[in-house]
Symmetry: C2
Subunit: 165 residues, 2 copies
């Protein structure tokens, strides 16, 4: 790949387990304006195109992306279906999404997730996504589960989606 100015740069995804609280913090930059990165997180047709590892497909069952709304989606991997659901506690256009997250079949496990988008200028955006649970053991099991594959592959698909404009 030659370094022409218009090409999407490769960005590292940082995944940090907070030392003080049972929280995971994901940081990633995108070569796209904040408005587009936000839309790719709120428009269900776009979300379904990039979320999760390459080995899965997404089906959005329910998606009411507004403060006080809720969502459910299904991730399909080798014929198996995994359901996830939650509520949108707050949706602030282009800036912030606060939501809850539960994997079905583990009904007592719930994470509080916060997505913050910062405008870095020059059409670039920094995403910070945190996921808070009530136990370090659950947080550490989540980090050890191989979740970084889905995060990294998902954001690479998101890079491609954003490059198409």
């Amino acid at each position: 790949m030659t370094g022409t100015g218009n090409q999407t740069r490769h960005h590292e995804t940082q995944i940090v387990a907070d030392p003080d609280v049972p929280l995971v913090r994901i940081t990633r930059e995108f070569d796209a304006p904040r408005k587009l990165v936000f839309r790719a997180h709120t428009d269900p047709e776009l979300v379904a195109q990039w979320m999760g590892p390459n080995s899965t497909q997404n089906r959005i069952d329910h998606w009411d992306c507004r403060t006080g709304g809720s969502w459910r989606h299904v991730s399909i991997q080798e014929g198996q279906e995994y359901g996830f659901y939650g509520s949108f506690h707050e949706v602030r256009p282009d800036e912030l999404i606060v939501q809850t997250f539960t994997l079905e079949g583990m009904p007592d496990g719930v994470a509080l997730e916060k997505l913050v988008l910062e405008d870095l200028g020059d059409g670039r955006t920094r995403l910070t996504a945190t996921s808070l649970v009530d136990s370090f053991a659950d947080r550490d099991a989540f980090v050890a589960s191989g979740m970084e594959v889905g995060v990294n592959e998902g954001y690479e698909k998101l890079d491609e989606l954003l490059a198409r404009g």
Copy 2:
């Protein structure tokens, strides 16, 4: 007060700041069946009668108490109105309510709250309510805010409401 068997006993409310995670845990017993304690947390007309300190009145603005629903209420103290809102992540009849909680005017502060009701037999119920935030400083400020007055007075009003059946 003499100790006749039918009288409501005085129950202590335990409020514990967790040493390991930024969470407050409230534990309280009630001399009422779990179904009634649950209803007093989900029926907005009942909630408005007992929630919060004696010095406030409640107005429920919006209350859709189901998994995926949302709520907003206003607490009125000396003519001042304080708004609160959140989502119901999960409502499991008689057992569990998981919800989010934000005080308006502090839009980036959000707590993940879990209410668990246990049937102790003999028409008694144990309530455990946890509130999780992402910082020990915010948790400690909440505990230091005088919140125990509202919790204790609220549960005394709930005792009276439950005694009426």
